[in-house]
Structure formats: structure tokens, C-alpha cells
């Protein structure tokens, strides 16, 4: 429920649950509506409030304080306070009780009262904040963030318990003053926050605070609690919120957080991470049993997703543990999606057996598409040289029927002489029409010099 509904209810002296039907109204309109109600309730009495405020100039401060608290109900006192000279307000604030001030604060308009509130000393504001925290008036307090000075904000937030902070922080409209206050929270309070909130509560706080603002608190959270926070956030699917913390947490915290990630958690969070050295270290040091668990949990399509979002050079520990039959499944998924460039990145990372497993599931069209993208190595030569005859027949047919000679030339020239010879040795197996097409292309030099030579040899 919007805090504005609470303010309207307070103005009308009703319980917020009695103000039904305003839930979908924008906050700005509710604020305007509140001001209209305030005007209709107190508008006629504005002159009277101005005269009451003027009394503070003639009645001595100690007496004015006593009389105000005795005869001026807080709602009227709030209207009067908004008209006080700042110096008089500063004097009077020390002459009335904190509970009375708290009632006035609840009835004050955060915008109209700003000139007066800005002049008030931080000490009493801290005490009023403590009283309001005690009453759990978080929404109303949050409204005053832009009203008070930074010193008053410091005093107010120092009066907050960790649970008060947890309740009020999500309601705050952030400004520079708050940044200053959070950055300068006393070490004892930071330690208290980090140690007295449980993992779920710290997870809530983490989501409510920008990571750059959580710095001092994050640093004080025990590493063993980080795993609990991460588990809570993973369970809620708060991947973006977690990813934002990667640059703020220590290596040990990152270890603890990713140590509780399931395969699907990793799949969801990894694309959102801004990569850094700590992440490389953590991935490199993943425990074998965690890698095994990830591989067991994710199906080939999901592992293909993970492969596409991870930099292959960072995948080493995971890639090295993938069984060859799983590699074939991942390759099938990626070939089906025509992720040729993405696959080609892995050539330098996988073992020859994995490469063989991957190419074994490639169609001739896949091979023709992926071969030009591979960074060629002797290992690839060995795998390609080992391709079954049937695959070469299909490949040759694909080249002939596709008639994309430029692509075919690039692919052909990547093959080892052995593979090239094997291919042309099977020229007779092509259909008559395909033989004609290949011959014309090879003789015409469209498949490159090697193909032309091999064609000449075949004809001879």
C-alpha cells in the first residue's frame, strides 16, 4: 500500500484499511489529493494557525512549549509548525516531549515543512526517529528523507535497529544524503546489521540497496552467511540482483555464493555477470563434485545454453569434465540452432575425442558451415582425416548441390591434403549431375588450386 494512503487515512483519522479503492491511483495524484483534503480541513483556519505561530514571538519559549503540548492537538500543531519562524521552531523543539513531537512529525507535510525542518537540530530529530521506529512508522519516515538535513538523517538512521533499516530502506527514495549516511554508518552499527540479520533478511537488504551502497555492510557479512544469502536469492530467482554484487564481494564470498549454485542457477546468472578475475578464479576452482552435479542436472540443450554464454577460455574446468556422449548432445543442439561461430570458439578448449564426438553429429551442411570458422590445428586435421567415408560422400554432395563455390573453396582449402585426396577419390560416387558441377567448378578454379589439381588427376 502506498504511504500516501496512510497519510490520507491519518488526515481523515481513519484506519488505512478504511480508505478502500485508492490502491491503483498514482502516488503523485494521491499526494495532490492529500493536499486538497488538508486544504479543505484546515484551509479556513490558516489565518488562525498563522496567529498561533505568531504567539511564539510573544510568549516565552518554556511557557509556549508547555501550552502547545497541553492545548494544541498534534495535527493542528503540525499546521502551525509549518508556519513557524525557523529560529522559534529550533527553540520549541527542545521544549516539548518526544512523543508529542513524533505525533506532529506524523502530521507534517514533508514538502511544506521543509524550510522549518531543515533548521532543526539533529539531536531531537534522532530521538523522534527512535520513537517513530519504535512505532514502526516506516512509510511516513521514508517520506522525510528529502526533507531533513544530512546531519538529521545520520541521527535518524543511527537510531535504527538492523530490523528497522531492513523495513525502511526499501521505502526510501534515494538521494545523495542517504549515500553519505550509509557510507558513514558507524562500524559497530554495520557489524550489528551484518551479524544480527539472518541470511534471508540480509538477502532482502541486499535487494533493496544498490550494491555500491552496500559496500560497508557487505564487507562485514561473515563468509559463512554469504552462502545462506546466496541460497536465499537463488531460491527466489533473484539472479539480476545477485549479479550486481559480483564486483563488490570478495573472492571468498564469491566462492561461498557460487558454491551453493545449482546448474540452472548458473545458467541463469552467468549471462548477467560482469566478468572479473575473481569469477575466473572461482570457476577454475569449482569442485569436481559440483561440476559433476551441474552436468548431471542440465540436459544437452541447457548445457548448450551455458556453453554459449560462457567464454570458452573460462569454461576449462567444466568442459574438461563433460563426457564425450554429452558433448555430442550439446553439439547436436548447437548445430540445430546453427550456432556455428559459437561452437567454433571451443575448438581450442575441447579434447580430440570431444571434437570427434561433436563433428560426428554434424550434417554435411553443418560441416561446410563450421569448417571455415575453425582455428585450424593438427588435432582438427586428425579428426577430419578420420571422418567416415559416408560423411565425405555427403559433404561432397552438399558442395556440389549447394553450388556455393566461395564457401566450398574456403572449407576445402582448410582440409588436409589427405582429406582433400580422400574426398576426390570418391568423386565417382557422386551423381552424374553433381560430377558435372564439381568438375566445372574445379576446372574453372572456383574450388581453388588444390581442387583443380586433384580434378585433373581424377580425370587422368
Amino acid at each position: 500500500m502506498s504511504p500516501q494512503i496512510g497519510r490520507i487515512a491519518r488526515l481523515l483519522r481513519l484506519d488505512p484499511s478504511d480508505i478502500r479503492g485508492l490502491e491503483g491511483v498514482p502516488d503523485a495524484d494521491l499526494r495532490a489529493f492529500h493536499d486538497q483534503i488538508s486544504k479543505t480541513l484546515f484551509g479556513d483556519a490558516q489565518q488562525r494557525f498563522a496567529r498561533i505561530a505568531g504567539l511564539s514571538r510573544t510568549i516565552p519559549g518554556p511557557l509556549a512549549g508547555v501550552l502547545a503540548e497541553k492545548f494544541l492537538p498534534p495535527v493542528m500543531a503540525a499546521r502551525t509548525a509549518e508556519m513557524l519562524e525557523p529560529a522559534k521552531a529550533r527553540d520549541l523543539i527542545g521544549r516539548v516531549s518526544i512523543p508529542y513531537l513524533a505525533e506532529i512529525a506524523l502530521a507534517l507535510d514533508p514538502v511544506r515543512s521543509r524550510p522549518v525542518v531543515q533548521q532543526l537540530p539533529a539531536g531531537p530529530i534522532g530521538k523522534v526517529a527512535k520513537e517513530l521506529f519504535g512505532r514502526k512508522e516506516y512509510a511516513t519516515m521514508a517520506e522525510f528523507v528529502g526533507t531533513v538535513t544530512v546531519e538529521a538523517l545520520v541521527a535518524a538512521l543511527h537510531a535504527a535497529s538492523p530490523h528497522d533499516l531492513l523495513a525502511v530502506v526499501p521505502l526510501l527514495e534515494w538521494n545523495d544524503n542517504l549515500d553519505t549516511v550509509i557510507a558513514e554508518l558507524p562500524a559497530a552499527q554495520v557489524t550489528q546489521i551484518a551479524t544480527s540479520l539472518d541470511a534471508g533478511e540480509l538477502a532482502d537488504l541486499a535487494l533493496a540497496l544498490d550494491p555500491s551502497r552496500m559496500g560497508p555492510i557487505v564487507g562485514a557479512v561473515p563468509v559463512e552467511t554469504v552462502a545462506g544469502i546466496a541460497a536465499a536469492l537463488f531460491e527466489r530467482g533473484e539472479y539480476a540482483g545477485m549479479a550486481a554484487f559480483v564486483g563488490v564481494v570478495t573472492l571468498e564470498m564469491l566462492h561461498a555464493a557460487l558454491g551453493v549454485a545449482s546448474g540452472r542457477d548458473l545458467l541463469a546468472v552467468v549471462p548477467l555477470l560482469e566478468w572479473n578475475d575473481n569469477l575466473d578464479t572461482v570457476i577454475a576452482q569449482l569442485k569436481p563434485q559440483q561440476v559433476t552435479a551441474i552436468l548431471a542436472e542440465l540436459d544437452a540443450s541447457e548445457l548448450a545454453d551455458l556453453a554459449m554464454v560462457l567464454d570458452p577460455s573460462r569454461m576449462g574446468p567444466i568442459v574438461g569434465s563433460v563426457p564425450v556422449e554429452t558433448v555430442a548432445g550439446i553439439a547436436s543442439a548447437l548445430f540445430a540452432r546453427a550456432e556455428y561461430a559459437g561452437m567454433a570458439r571451443f575448438v581450442g578448449v575441447v579434447t580430440p575425442d570431444m571434437l570427434k564426438g561433436a563433428l560426428a553429429v554434424a550434417s554435411a551442411a553443418d560441416l561446410l558451415a563450421v569448417v571455415p570458422l575453425l582455428e585450424w590445428t593438427p588435432a582438427i586435421d586428425a579428426v577430419v582425416d578420420d571422418l567416415p567415408d559416408a560423411v565425405l560422400d555427403d559433404l561432397f554432395t552438399e558442395i556440389a548441390s549447394g553450388a556455393d563455390w566461395a564457401a566450398a573453396k574456403v572449407a576445402f582449402e582448410r582440409l588436409s591434403p589427405t582429406a582433400q585426396e580422400r574426398l576426390f577419390a570418391r568423386f565417382d560416387r557422386l551423381s552424374a549431375g553433381n560430377q558435372k558441377r564439381i568438375r566445372a567448378a574445379a576446372v574453372g578454379g572456383e574450388l581453388g588450386a588444390a581442387a583443380a589439381d586433384l580434378m585433373a588427376t581424377a580425370r587422368a
Binding site: 481523515l12 478502500r20 485508492l22 495524484d29 479543505t40 489565518q47 492537538p73
Partner: protein, 70 residues
């Protein structure tokens, strides 16, 4: 009659469009709640004024009376 007519009457102003667009029964209830609060506010104000005039020390009663009653 427009459904927000009562609300406009009690507020003395046109409410924001998003409020005026609320269902008639919500607008009627809001108008009644505001009207009740207005009456209560006036009554409380008068009670406070009378209590204050009667209760403040004699030395300041004159200026308090002037401030409160004009």
C-alpha cells in the same frame, strides 16, 4: 450528475483525474469520509480553542484569545 460532484463539493476543488475516474461508490464513500472529518475537525478545533482560552494562565489569556479568535 457527475459521479465526482459530491467529492468536488466537499473538497472545493477538482480532484486529480485518476481519483475522479474511480467507481461512483468509492467517490461517494471518500466524499462522506472527508465531510465527516471536516465536521470533526471543526468541532475539535472549537473545543481546543475553548479549552485553551480557559486553561492558559491569566497573564497570557488575552493574547491567546486574540490569536485563537482573531
Amino acid at each position: 450528475m457527475k459521479s465526482d460532484a459530491e467529492l468536488i463539493k466537499v473538497l472545493g476543488a477538482q480532484p486529480p483525474a485518476s481519483i475522479s475516474a474511480l467507481p461512483p461508490e468509492t467517490l461517494a464513500r471518500l466524499a462522506e469520509q472527508i465531510g465527516t472529518a471536516k465536521k470533526q475537525q471543526h468541532a475539535d478545533m472549537e473545543t481546543s480553542v475553548q479549552k485553551a482560552i480557559a486553561g492558559v494562565p491569566f497573564a497570557v489569556r488575552g493574547i491567546v484569545r486574540k490569536a485563537l479568535l482573531g
